[in-house]
Symmetry: C2
Subunit: 465 residues, 2 copies
């Protein structure tokens, strides 16, 4: 009885000691992030000196050069570029669209080509419009009512979803597959309501796929601003015979070489166990890509710097990876995983930040129940920083290809309310990022990496044995 009591007391005091060491390290990380964080300065450069960084563009290459240079200056153990072939799609001259209520009577509306779309014919397309609430409506309408018309996908994001990402998931099929599906019924083109919960004048671009559709049969697709969508829908209700005109001259070029940018601190005890933290360096071309995903890149870079500057030397190898081409291909994420597998690298943890630079609320984890339980046991440590979400869920697109049974994949979960006001639109710009919110995200990520490094993850070996 006495021995076991003593053991319990020892355990408690050991836990308390560890707790207080963890508290101290995390406080050091947060303090440094909030007083001398670098993420905001880096983002300022990426956003305001470089700007939108679409795969294959000059700006994407400038971002590669700039971030490599900055990582070089941090005194990491190794910094390198990982070559990857990426698609090159170019928007061309600005798109143009109007609603024609009767010949000569037109109202311009803001549109933008979806990423990957084909151009319209040189003179544009002008024809009748059929409004649908989703892909499933096409079958009900049939070829007869669709052929030769523009299909207008107008199902809005569900405002009652508290996570705006859930609302996005419930809509984005219209953007991604809408053109391929409408093409099967002979549509002349596709207009998609922007994935935006707000009513405003910004069209939001984003990736789309023609799937197996032969090149000759592909129909052009554009996003219309939410206000434009409301106007078009209201006009159609008054007169279903109105016409819509749009013109875009975007183009897909051959793939070009680009790079993932990688920096590494070698682990002192388990150098072969790799932890990855990252975001994607490419962005859409309309804004400057601040929230999507400049913030994820600069936060990830700052994770290594914050640990280094607070004197923490990781036991496991820690890598920052700035992935290229998340937006329209995921080539960087796939390449990184492919090379890792070829080299037989053992990844134990991967953390992605690709949900905006807003106040961090927590993390979502794609991992075993045992690993989730371990992470949740650290909840108390995050409480002073108002980090409260430790849930099962999605890690991230770029780290997804690394997935194994033992790997812990995690995604930073920032407050999501404002994200889709800016996502893939002209107003995804630097002034909408708050420095403290951004740096709190970097500190939260660095703290999680610290805890994972210190305590290790639970592998299926350990669970079995």
């Amino acid at each position: 009885m006495r021995t076991s009591l003593l053991l319990i007391l020892l355990l408690i005091s050991a836990t308390n000691f560890a707790q207080s060491e963890d508290e101290k390290q995390m406080k050091a990380i947060y303090d440094l992030a909030l007083t001398e964080g670098k993420a905001y300065d880096w983002l300022n450069y990426l956003s305001n000196q470089i700007g939108g960084r679409l795969s294959g563009s000059v700006q994407a290459q400038q971002a590669v050069d700039y971030t490599k240079g900055q990582l070089d200056s941090l005194g990491l153990d190794r910094v390198w570029l990982q070559p990857v072939m990426v698609p090159k799609w170019v928007r061309g001259t600005p798109e143009f669209a109007y609603i024609e209520t009767k010949p000569g009577l037109t109202t311009n509306v803001p549109i933008c080509a979806l990423g990957g779309s084909v151009a319209t014919p040189d003179g544009g397309i002008k024809t009748n419009v059929v409004e649908v609430q989703g892909i499933e409506d096409l079958e009900k309408l049939g070829r007869e009512k669709i052929e030769g018309k523009i299909v207008f996908y107008n199902r809005p994001m569900d405002p009652t979803q508290i996570s705006t990402f859930s609302a996005y998931s419930g809509c984005v099929d219209q953007r991604y597959s809408g053109a391929a599906e409408a093409g099967k019924y002979g549509a002349a083109g596709v207009i998609v309501r922007s994935m935006n919960l707000r009513l405003d004048d910004y069209p939001h671009t984003g990736s789309m796929s023609y799937g197996e559709t032969p090149v000759a049969e592909r129909v052009p697709a554009a996003a219309i601003s939410t206000k434009g969508a409301e106007l078009l829908s209201a006009t159609l209700k008054l007169n279903p015979a109105i016409k819509f005109y749009f013109k875009q001259n975007c183009k897909q070029f051959d793939d070009v070489e680009s790079y993932n940018v990688i920096g590494e601190i070698k682990g002192t005890i388990h150098p072969n166990e790799i932890m990855v933290v990252g975001g994607h360096l490419d962005s859409w071309d309309l804004g400057d890509g601040s929230h999507d995903d400049g913030t994820g890149c600069v936060q990830s870079m700052d994770v290594l710097r914050l640990l280094k500057e607070t004197g923490y030397r990781p036991k496991r190898t820690l890598r920052v990876v700035l992935f290229m081409n998340e937006e329209n291909g995921l080539r960087g994420g796939n390449k990184y995983a492919e090379v890792a597998r070829a080299k037989n690298e053992k990844h134990v943890f991967a953390l992605e930040s690709d949900a905006g630079g807003f106040t961090p609320r927590g993390f979502s984890f794609d991992c075993s129940d045992e690993n989730l339980a371990q992470v949740q046991s650290w909840k108390k440590l995050f409480e002073p920083y108002l980090i409260h979400l430790f849930v099962k869920g999605y890690g991230g697109a770029d780290i997804g290809p690394l997935k194994t049974d033992d790997l812990v994949l995690a995604g930073l979960v920032p407050d999501s309310q404002r994200y889709f006001d800016h996502h893939h639109a002209e107003n995804d710009t630097f002034e909408h990022v708050n420095q403290r919110e951004l740096q709190l995200g970097a500190a939260s990520m660095a703290s999680l990496v610290y805890l994972i490094d210190k305590y290790g993850t639970i592998t299926s070996d350990k669970i079995k044995g």
Copy 2:
């Protein structure tokens, strides 16, 4: 054994039933707020049609008229104006200031008079500057080093505080009492670094008090933007002999009559038990008072509407109170409490929203441990809405005068990271409020009111007996 088991099972199923009724009601409230909330439209009018609403101004009266009209249209049981005398301070023509490094060589810096300050002499004040890090430095310096000079309070907000309100508390004595204290040492004037965690060009006003200082001995006080403060401090380091010039012609007039705006739904079972929800209708004059505290007013108004429209009829009497003159006098809050005491009204709950219209994170409670424990037992109900903070703390300035042992005082706690970017400054404007964040706050407040009404608060009678 069997009986007690049965009892437990009954209790559990009763709880489950209650839980699911509460879940349903809260979902109805949040859904309505996110689809047909009125708070944002009301705020649009207050901010963009009326603007800054300093006590005693025409705009403050317009806000009284507008909000009373809107409450009238909601079909409440009673809407009325409660007269209250308020101070009337007027800024006058825009302030002007510069740093003079040598005669003829000047750099303009943005300043604004603190609310309640006296004017400078007509020609302004130009003299040497002594920089201090707080009021406590005055004694060390002594009259000799202060007399005839401008005292420059430059202690910044502490960026390592996670709650920016804590950082504000640690600084605001410089603004509130700086002039009264510096005056005792013969200072010619006072310049205070703006209460802002960001470096920018906006000076932030706010209330100050001369305490018992006779009118003739009061020295003028102004806030300088954080960038201006950095420049002034850097210039002083290079040359302590530089001069600072500032001019302001603000003026305190006699008190004028104004109003608290009050609307009420009579309780069906306990009409004599009153629940209050409110914000303050006055604001500073530089911006349009959107976050401080237009949001608190329109959220409070929406609380009554959301409950009404979802078909919930409160058992207790529910009042919305839009307090006048929180910013420079608290006369409205004091008047409301004074009248309540004179009428022997029994207040059981008071909820204030005066911390910005950002994503709600939870509530802070000024109440007994028993009442806090009850509220915390509802935590699970709020989880789907990411409301996670239920802590002991401050209720709010306007509801403070109501305080009794039995009363539960509560304050909405929104995310605080961006608040002091805008607080009391020209950029506290409508476009910085996000509709969803605002409406989520209103729904969270309505949900808390619903639960308090349904389950009642725990009075000291109940605890004792």
